[in-house]
Subunit: 717 residues, 2 copies
């Protein structure tokens, strides 16, 4: 008999996108498996740029610090263009990351290290229960359509086969060449995956098979995605005529900007992008003008060797000299721009990363957009699998991420043309590229490239006005989101958004420093928006020392603390009150004149019989001793006296904004996306809670020892 | 036959001081062993405060980031004193770490985590060759005095015995109590170590024995040091009448400053120090006024229990209520202040940490001074064992560290009296303690407590004027240092010190941000002063774009690059030029107008045939895009046009200061402390180098490919 088992989530492919999905499962405590047909992880080459938003995301899981420490930080971009004599000259310097945008800046670190850091994090948070199963090939995928709407069902059946050592070794490892040859994964190469699969299939059942029934499947298996083909879905788009070679070398050169990121247009020899990396390595993206696609649109790869690529680079860099003694990796590719027509089937099987979008690698966006796909998807799948969120939220994955993929392709199209084109000789040279236009596109592209301009449209998860289809990916699917979305008029929304002009609804929650009230320690607020699967309500409590404002806060908190509030109803009875939705408070009174227990309702610093009050949830916007002043209210555009309330998704995107009086509207938002228990079960909670309120009152007034130890009903919260 | 072996260094005791010594051996590639009689590391309790300097030191080994991330940061100290009615009130708030002093602030993390982080670092840098050997007891230590002056000899013979599981388990582990009882290591407890030793000795040779011959032995085996007794040395000093209890609990309380560091004097019930820690734990240091030493000077420990200590704390904190459900650890101690009379024997066996100084733990200094002892000693032993430094430098260990230990005892004496005393009721209450005096001592003590006020005296390693004995520990031994020290008059020194007023000779090299010239990335300069056993010359090159200044830099570099310079002579022929002394450059011209290859002599960015020029050694004092302006020249007090030259010890202490014209004086300094090869062997180097100079010239002018690859004599550098 073939082994059979059930699992909540299967992730196919253990590259960065798959690992990000697995990281969510680990942090949310989901039963998940992640398989990969390769028997080893990446050791060199491949993607390596990490934009600001990716670092913020890594930080939300707790591992940005390792990447930040090991990576090369890219600070400045130098533009080199031909002068009147056709000699390349430095024409401009611009900061690589827009100043003031983010607490991180763009860095580079090779994919192998990033994967290792992901694996350590997954191991730690899953307590070693989620392990990458390598050398495992999916053979079939069947969806039982009769069960796709049943929350308890496992409607997807995947058959897996364990490969032998030999079957799962990519050619890279088998190669005898000293310089690792990346061409086997280039789009100029034949389809190794398919070859391996055919070889494997021909060996009659030499490996073991297994049948797995899953609630959800996430396909992160790259540009030639098996999952995508199993679903019968396609990538739509074209290849361009531009062919580029990539080399990771330690250059020996008199070119002065070799440790800067450089965009070099030569007069006639093509373009070169220089990306300095860790351990003295520099990546050269070199345009191969002499390689042209044939009538079939496919470039001839026979003459592409490291020597060939490097000669092209030397020509572009002349009159500067360049050589190398060490090459870490090389490859070549033909720029193609394609996006998937559909990102999921029945909200049960999802595609992410290269499986649904391919483009040129030079802007350093590929890995970033891929990990951000599954950062968007992972918590949604996890919270639906846990029964906390409604299944309807899964529809937002395609509308949010296919929109980003389309924007990316559009950006890449423009950028590739400008970068691969020959510089105009003068104003009359219409075929040439205007270098001012190139710089302008580059500078504008920097915001897009940071990942911070992403703005999710209206849906069940994001309360803003407008057309769901237009704000999403334009499909029927994203239009349908309007049906479940909470409605708000343009006028009404404008009033709400004015409460926190620095926190646009749909964008990620920006980070400024605030101090923990209880100990005065500065924190970047984002450090407290951990990716642990919790929604958050951020209460800008304003000037809590002003009696009028204090009354507003008390009123808001009384509703929050009431037995029928969303937070009490959604929290499982055996769990602490902050398990599903965490409330964080930032006030604007003087720190030294404020006290946690005296000035704030208990729901903002919940009590636990074993560890007392929670001192980690109340912050103040005040000056620190050692790290300056974050000026958070000003930077978030929030009124220092009156404050406001913000709901934040588990992935840090701002989803709802309102006044302290808008509690019912906030409640509506959570009713919309969370699977609330019926009111009848909430009634039971009421009894317990009213008992509790008395015991809490006795804690401060009475003898704490007596009050605290025997109160067994505190647990019921 | 008993097993015999040779080893460069044996470290006895694997607490923080011993682990620091082992860390140096790992980073310097020394063959070393570290033994501990316990069979396990610390899991809870014990020392936990880490001052600024300790964090700088951890950073120099590359692990401050882990401690910084896991620890609790102490930001503010609140002073609580009795008011006119005898009720405690908050009387003051002061920053816990003096503002602007250091890029780190004081933090707390329990010793077990710190030891784990040390172990990871030792494993990584020694490539797993230095492992803690647990359950190993030293049985005898013999010094062969006829060999102590022979650099190649192994004059110290130590006999080791492997304990059984049972012998090496401390009572803590054997105890059935749920609350770990720290009293077994308290000075109020009987001598467990001695008991265990006796038990072990009585079991006729049940474990294996081993004889090890060592060049050096470092005894870090605590207050009851076996090594110290084996050497016949003593701790000198007294116990006080003050008895204190320590508890690590998660308090449940309405006291508002429970997450602040607090110094609380009650009117009549004694004093309490509150130290908030990681994971919601808070340490209470509670004065036990009811426990008094008997006629023998020893306190009665029979009634000291957690309940007894906590009752005392509750009385002090009244009218605030406090209770706890969780206690992590507790202990009690009688304040004793003692310092060793001698820190080494024949510069072959050294004592460090608690083995040579004991004092009260409340100022959080114990572990810091201990790890700083071996941070001072480790590189000296390592570089002497490697044949790089002269044996004479070992004499500076006692003069430098015994001086610090004496200062510490003096500080602790004053602080303990003021903190353990009863607050004065009014001006006439002569027996009471004046609270203003207490605050004043506390504030002043903060600089001492940071570890940054340490100022090493004149010696072979530090070029400054004055009396070596007075600046050292006052002994004959420190007076003898004057014999080897380089002489400088007060007047002459004043002129030199004026070149860099922010870098006092004898103190640690302060840290400000500078940018790497090659890529514009900001670095705290200290991040580039890694603890890898290298001396450094920091060249403040001034305005390198001014022709006059450029000529001065060129002249200095020509001497540095000459075949008879200290740096060429001390570097082993098969090693890169920066192996023993690394030269770092900071210039003050505009970054964007400066280029590494064009503007700086090659000795400042040495060439390597495999990886090209070194872009990691030249920095600029300029504005960064994202991290402000370090203003390093101003902060170091160095003239922006003319610069200066600074020599820095491997432990980051400033050891010599001079003009760019003072090359010969700088050379003298290194001749004094380094074991330079005779000039004859340097002559050989000359030939190689003159050949090299030509090949270097050809690199830039000629075809790099041809010039670089075949130049085999580049290796000879």
């Amino acid at each position: 008999m073939v082994q059979q088992s059930n699992v909540d989530v299967i992730i196919i492919g253990a590259g960065p996108a798959g690992l990000m999905a697995a990281t969510w499962m680990a942090h949310c405590g989901i039963k998940a498996r992640i398989i990969d047909k390769r028997n080893t992880k990446i050791f060199c080459g491949q993607a390596d740029g990490l934009q600001c938003r990716s670092l913020e995301i890594f930080d939300s899981f707790g591992f940005a610090d390792r990447v930040w420490k090991e990576s090369n930080h890219m600070i400045e971009i130098c533009m080199w263009n031909p002068d009147a004599d056709g000699i390349i000259r430095r024409s401009d310097r611009i900061p690589d990351t827009i100043v003031g945008l983010c607490r991180f800046q763009q860095v580079v670190l090779h994919q192998g290290r990033i994967e290792t850091i992901f694996l350590d994090n997954i191991k730690k948070y899953s307590r070693d229960t989620i392990k990458i199963e390598r050398g495992v090939l999916p053979e079939s995928l069947v969806i039982d359509e009769s069960k796709v709407d049943d929350d308890e069902a496992y409607p997807v059946t995947v058959t897996l086969r364990m490969l032998t050592e030999e079957e799962s070794a990519p050619p890279q490892v088998m190669s005898a060449s000293k310089v690792p040859d990346g061409l086997f994964r280039s789009n100029l190469q034949g389809d190794f995956d398919e070859e391996a699969r055919m070889i494997a299939a021909s060996r009659a059942r030499c490996g073991e098979s297994e049948v797995v029934h899953a609630k959800y499947v996430i396909g992160c298996d790259g540009a030639r995605s098996w999952t995508r083909r199993a679903l019968g879905l396609e990538l739509i788009g074209d290849a361009t005529d531009f062919v580029w070679g990539v080399m990771d070398i330690i250059p020996i050169t008199d070119f002065p900007d070799i440790r800067m990121r450089c965009a070099i247009h030569s007069a006639d020899n093509g373009s070169l992008m220089i990306i300095p990396r860790e351990n003295k390595i520099v990546r050269f993206y070199t345009q191969l003008k002499e390689v042209r696609p044939d009538a079939s649109g496919r470039a001839d790869r026979s003459k592409i060797t490291p020597e060939f690529i490097f000669k092209a680079a030397q020509k572009i860099l002349a009159p500067y000299k360049v050589d190398y003694a060490y090459c870490d990796w090389w490859t070549a590719y033909q720029i193609g721009q394609r996006v998937g027509n559909q990102f999921d089937v029945h909200n049960r099987v999802f595609l992410a990363g290269d499986a649904v979008h391919t483009h040129s690698p030079k802007a350093g966006l590929g890995m970033n957009v891929s990990v951000q796909d599954t950062f968007n998807l992972g918590w949604k799948v996890a919270l639906v699998a846990k029964g906390i969120c409604k299944r309807a939220i899964l529809g937002t994955y395609q509308s949010e991420r296919r929109r980003v993929a389309k924007d990316l392709i559009e950006f890449d199209h423009k950028f590739s043309r400008l970068f691969s084109g020959r510089p105009a000789k003068d104003m009359m040279d219409a075929e040439g590229i205007n270098m001012d236009e190139f710089k302008d596109t580059f500078v504008k592209g920097n915001l897009f490239a940071s990942g911070l301009s992403v703005d999710y449209g209206t849906s069940i998860l994001v309360v803003k006005p407008g057309d769901a289809a237009l704000q999403g990916d334009g499909t029927e699917k994203s239009a349908r989101l309007a049906l479940t979305a909470k409605k708000i008029s343009e006028d009404e929304f404008a009033k709400k958004q004015a409460l926190a002009t620095g926190l646009p609804v749909g964008k990620r929650f920006n980070s400024f420093k605030v101090l923990l009230q209880a100990d005065g320690r500065p924190w970047h607020l984002q450090e407290r928006l951990k990716a642990d699967g919790r929604f958050r309500v951020v209460l800008f409590a304003g000037n809590i020392r002003a009696p009028e404002q204090k009354a507003r806060v008390d009123k808001f908190c009384a509703k929050l603390d009431a037995p029928d509030s969303f937070i009490r109803r959604i929290t499982p009875k055996d769990k602490p009150i902050d398990s599903v939705v965490e409330v964080l408070t930032i006030h604007s009174a003087k720190r030294t004149e404020t006290e946690v227990l005296r000035d704030f309702p208990e729901v903002l610093h919940p009590f636990d019989e074993h560890v007392g009050w929670d001192y980690d949830k109340i912050f103040v916007d005040d000056v620190s001793y050692h790290e300056g002043f974050g000026d958070a209210y000003k930077n978030y555009g929030v009124d220092k006296e009156r404050g406001c309330v913000v709901a934040v998704r588990p992935d840090q995107y701002v989803s709802w904004l309102g006044e302290l009086e808008d509690f019912e509207d906030l409640q509506d938002y959570f009713e919309g996306c969370l699977k609330m228990p019926a009111v009848s079960s909430a009634a039971k909670v009421t009894e317990k809670v009213s008992g509790l309120v008395e015991s809490v009152a006795s804690k401060v007034n009475g003898d704490i020892k007596t009050a605290v130890r025997p109160v067994s009903n505190v647990k019921d919260r």
